[in-house]
């Protein structure tokens, strides 16, 4: 039972992070390797708002809105200029952005390990969720938030007018532009949403575990999950996270914890050999690159 709970929590973490990779890739065909850094910035935004108010009901939403704005700014100020450049150049730009952000974070917040939960007065307690299975209360919140985020993303993409435009832009940008869809607006929105979901993940993780630069590496660990599912499918990201998390937890328990780092990538290789476009990805995605 505890194992089941562990798998669900870990896959929720991976899923909440990896939807950011998927959203941006799906709509704008850019692989955002600064997602880990953006997620960390989101968590530091919370640390910042927490220094002004000790009320989590204020600090968290304000930080979330700031991260939404920052995501849009990243597109409008930087990534917009990379449209039309090669795929590799766009990826490298996101990496360079990541390096810049890491440096800025040390300048403004120092490299010390810090706890945004302390000024907010949040204590993580232990919750019995299933018979014989306990998880921390923050993990429980994280699972719920992940479910909410995915549900609203599905609803948004299927039902709303903006969601429809987003899908159109992802499938055929040229045609979408001809039909009068404002591509830059769409892309800015998707960067904002991606940074928002990533930041929420970063905030929840750092409330539980504290905050320093290692958060970036956790962001990167969720990347294989997005790929296993297929980089351009949200459902795929969800299932991919579940597969990767299950493999990781079971290996830690029954085989060798050291394999935890390698295994997501092994799964990935197997997946790439069998279905190169991922579990739920679309075939044509391959030739776009």
């Amino acid at each position: 039972m505890q194992l089941v709970a562990n798998i669900i929590v870990l896959s929720a973490i991976y899923a909440l992070i990896s939807c950011g990779y998927v959203l941006i890739y799906r709509v704008s065909r850019v692989l955002n390797l600064a997602h880990g850094e953006l997620m960390m910035v989101g968590a530091y935004l919370l640390l910042m708002t927490a220094s002004f108010t000790s009320n989590p009901m204020v600090a968290i939403p304000v930080a979330a809105i700031l991260s939404l704005t920052m995501g849009a700014l990243v597109y409008l100020l930087l990534m917009r200029r990379m449209t039309g450049e090669s795929v590799l150049a766009a990826i490298l730009t996101t990496i360079a952005l990541g390096i810049l952000l890491r440096g800025l974070i040390v300048i403004f917040f120092s490299a010390a390990h810090q706890y945004p939960a302390v000024p907010l007065g949040i204590h993580s307690s232990s919750v019995q969720v299933l018979p014989g299975a306990r998880i921390s209360s923050l993990s429980l919140i994280l699972v719920i938030v992940t479910a909410l985020v995915y549900a609203s993303l599905f609803a948004f993409l299927r039902l709303s007018r903006w969601g429809l435009r987003m899908r159109a832009a992802g499938q055929n940008p040229l045609l979408a532009a001809q039909r009068g869809i404002n591509l830059h607006g769409i892309y800015a929105m998707v960067w904002a949403i991606a940074m928002f979901t990533g930041s929420v993940a970063g905030m929840l993780i750092s409330l539980d575990a504290g905050l320093d630069q290692t958060l970036i590496m956790i962001g990167l660990k969720a990347f294989p999950a997005a790929l296993v599912g297929g980089l351009d499918s949200l459902l795929g990201a969800l299932i991919g996270s579940l597969i990767v998390a299950a493999a990781e937890v079971l290996l830690i328990q029954y085989v060798n914890p050291l394999l935890a780092d390698v295994v997501p990538f092994l799964i990935l290789i197997v997946m790439l050999v069998v279905r190169p476009w991922g579990l739920f990805g679309t075939r044509e995605a391959l030739d776009r690159v």
């Binding site: 505890q2 194992l3 562990n6 929590v9 870990l10 973490i13 991976y14 890491r102 440096g103 040390v106 120092s110 490299a111 010390a112 390990h113 706890y115 302390v118 993580s124 307690s125 232990s126 306990r134 998880i135 921390s136 993990s139 993780i205 575990a209 320093d212 630069q213 290692t214 970036i216 590496m217 956790i218 990167l220 660990k221 969720a222 990781e248 937890v249 830690i252 328990q253 914890p257 050291l258 935890a260 780092d261």
Partner: protein, 386 residues
Amino acid sequence: MISRTIALAAAAGLLGTAAGAQDAYRIGLSGALTGPVAGSYAPAIEGLQLYINRLNEGGGIDGHPVELIVLDDSGEPSRGATNSRRLLGQEEVVLMINASLSSTYAPMMADARRAGVPLLFAASACPAEVYPPAEPLLFCTTAFAARYDSQATLDFIEAQAGTDISLGLSAMAIPLSRGEIEAAEGLATERGMRPQAPTIVPPPTADYTPFATTISQAGADWVYSWAPWVTEVRTFEALRRLGWEGEYIAWAHLEAEGELARLQDEGFYAIGANSLFAEDLPVHQEIRAAAEAAGATYAPDQMAEGWIAGLVIDAALQSAGWPADAEAVNAAMENLNVDTQGLRGGPIEWTPENHFRATQYYRVYRWNADEGAIDVVQDWAAYTVE
């Protein structure tokens, strides 16, 4: 604060051009000031800089200032290697200091040996080369040290709970930590304890619960962790959230003092070689005052390692006299006895055979919920280093 720093820098610059180049002791440091692990090393580096600045403000050593050249290696071995070549080849330092991840040791050690310049490890685990019989040129002031730490920890566990216990072991997936915990497994078996197979956690881990689950389900009464602080403390927190009620002992890294107060858990023990700032000894007040005056980035209670390195460097340069070349500094370091002013349980003594210290002292701390303060559970226990 900024204007003060600029004034100091300008003063240093003037000294540097006018007299400093000939009249200063030149020493150089390569450390992790940026990068993911910087939080564990940058405070110690800042502590050392504060000590050296204060020394220079007081007139230096017999009128000669100490010029400390600080280079960043981000914890990457290749950059450590570049830095050491630069410190040796261009800056011509008489002493090199390493304050970075253990992966930077190999290249800096190789270069120091070649150039015949002493190398001091001042913020990360002491390498085996400094134990007797010590290799020439390599010295270490850092509190934590392979083998002795596990010996002292197991002695403490045995004193508390006897040997009829199941012992969980936790390490980070870096060679140094794994090696030590695997050695502890052997030591525990020799004592008749029942150690579990070590649980080795990869450095970037989103959730420690799966690792804690294996430890908890194997029925550990005590858990021992010797790893970077994140792994130690997060494994513990994950164990508690699983409802595990055993006792946990971990190495007291520089974060320990703040963290014991944050966790407030009486089952969490921290074993270490440094005294805590809560004691408020004169030396602690000195460090606090220096940190405050300089507007330091990090908390003073994380600076002890750097300050201790400063005390030792001060003593070594003094004993080497003026003018000092690398050879003279090395000779001075081979016969040194430095009073740690209460930051440690005793002095740091070096001999030609022993570049670690003649006696290593350990203390064990934990949180006392009734008093709302940190308790010394076991006062200085001395271990002769042979």
